[in-house]
């Protein structure tokens, strides 16, 4: 009887594990099947490097180059803002803060992750957008920069909590040895602890970027959604995710436009996959 119970539980757990993998594989197959159908009508180079996104015109233009650049501009902007801030916060929490402050900061930053993105987008639209327009004297506040700021805010919890864990995981001996050799506290942190935690920090950055590039609602609300190749961070952009979300409701199933949106989904999938892969490799290096 005991043996049977053991057997049953083992099978149930096995089934749960397999189910999640099957679902991921099915999603991927569906995405590929729908997305690749586009290339019966449009060739790959025109799709990836076309400069015009006019999906409902006759003939339609499905060039996602401005959309890819839009996503990259916003992501790059968010990374530049979030990474230094995030890593500095992680260092402070892990190495410098007193235990009480440490607890408050940690739970506070993790709480940011609980704010729904539509709420962040709404706050950005009503406060940040007019502020940016006014103080930077721009034609409109709906710019890639506004999106980057909102996304940096959303990537912070990921970056801070993983980087902080990586820094905490560095054996105390390293730091003590450095201090014993006459290093200042800053030298010990900068030259020893951060070096030792570097692969975990890279993983933190990569996962933060993955969070940013897949975000939809907040960017759709603050970036203006103009499918124009951006010349600077202070221009409106249209991201890939916002395009899928804004246009999917309109398309007739199995029309070219519908396939094109799935093809954007594939591009997005490939990008996030690469980012996760880098994070994964970096973590394994850390373990060794």
């Amino acid at each position: 009887m005991k043996h049977f119970k053991e057997f049953l539980i083992e099978k149930v757990i096995w089934f749960c594990g397999v189910t999640s993998i099957v679902i991921v594989v099915l999603i991927f197959i569906f995405l590929l099947k729908e997305g690749l159908s586009l290339f019966k009508h449009v060739n790959l180079v025109d799709f990836l490097f076309g400069r015009k996104w006019y999906p409902i015109s006759d003939p339609p233009h499905f060039g996602i180059f401005p959309l890819v650049l839009g996503s990259l501009t916003v992501t790059l902007g968010a990374t530049v803002i979030a990474v230094p801030l995030g890593i500095a916060s992680a260092i402070y929490i892990a190495e410098i803060a007193s235990p009480r402050i440490k607890e408050i900061l940690k739970s506070g930053i993790e709480m940011i992750a609980a704010i729904p993105s539509v709420v962040i987008g709404f706050i950005g639209m009503t406060t940040l957008v007019p502020f940016i327009k006014h103080y930077l004297n721009l034609p409109t506040g709906l710019t890639a920069f506004s999106g980057a700021l909102m996304l940096a805010f959303m990537a912070m919890p990921t970056i801070v909590s993983i980087a902080e864990d990586a820094i905490t995981a560095v054996p105390h001996k390293y730091k003590e040895a450095a201090l014993a050799l006459g290093a200042t506290r800053w030298q010990a942190i900068w030259r020893v602890v951060l070096r030792a935690a570097s692969s975990g920090i890279v993983a933190a950055i990569m996962l933060g970027i993955g969070r940013v590039i897949g975000e939809t609602m907040a960017v759709m609300m603050v970036t203006g959604n103009a499918a124009h190749i951006p010349e600077s961070l202070f221009e409106p952009v249209r991201t890939m995710t916002a395009t899928i979300a804004a246009e999917m409701g309109e398309t007739v199933q199995h029309s070219e436009h519908y396939f094109a949106l799935f093809a954007i989904g594939i591009v997005l999938f490939i990008i996030t996959f690469i980012i996760n892969l880098i994070a994964d490799l970096s973590i394994h290096r850390h373990r060794e």
């Binding site: 124009h228 221009e235 309109e250």
Partner: protein, 297 residues
Amino acid sequence: MTILTKFKFIRFVVPILVFMSCALSCERNSQNPSIQKEHSIKIKGSDTMVNLAQAWAEAFMRDHPQSLIAVTGGGSGTGIAALISSTCDIAETSRKMKPKEQEEAKANGINPVEMTVALDGLAVVVNPENPIDRLTIDELSDIFTGKIRNWKDVRGEDLPIVLLSREVNSGTHVYFKEHILRKGDPKRTEEFDDRSLLMPSSQSIADEIAQNPNAIGYYGIGYSSPTQKILAIAQDYNHPYFLPTIENIKNGNYYISRPLLMYSNGEPAGWIKDFIDFILSPEGQKIVEDVDFVPIQ
């Protein structure tokens, strides 16, 4: 090692978030509340018409308590797509069905029947601080295709023009492109400048206009408020300028007006017919005027 467990957790969370973002868009596609009442009609489509259709539905349900009418927006294209995939009974649209959509409907065994239910004037609006108060169709076309980029070229101040348009799923977007940018000539191929900001709703255009003196946008006259200034429009310099008043739209003086349509699958019958009859009755057309559109008679 905590870092590894946390990493694994987040590694799963991030792709899930990506998929959820995409799922959000699909969700809009499948919003069809299955209402179990004796006679339910599902209406879907133009955001411009949502308030109007809602007002009709409420009045009709008051008189016929056993009926239930569900109205959702999303854009004309969304409504037509829903009619073609049989997820709604009536598509409300602010533009005619395109030949391609007609074909797709036929392929799915749907026979769309068109009815004009009201008229709408499109107001072209700017911020009240902008000194401009009138434009011609040619000027509008040049502004929205990006040939004119500064207000000083149309007798205004030396400020960049910020274009606000609706998303491509909006009938208003398509109507404006065909009748203003292309001046009603199907052979022309003008497109909105790719710098135009595509806004998710008419309300978001109204909000941005209210706070941005550089911006110009368009929407159904029902959305206007004192925080935006409506421009007078002329066909060209040789014609007089008209504001989109109910009078000017009815008698055809105002150039940018359009019929608001409903499509049903086949000739309306049963409750759908009763509802359409109500819309076209004097009582129904009175409601049109109450929500700031223009009755057809």
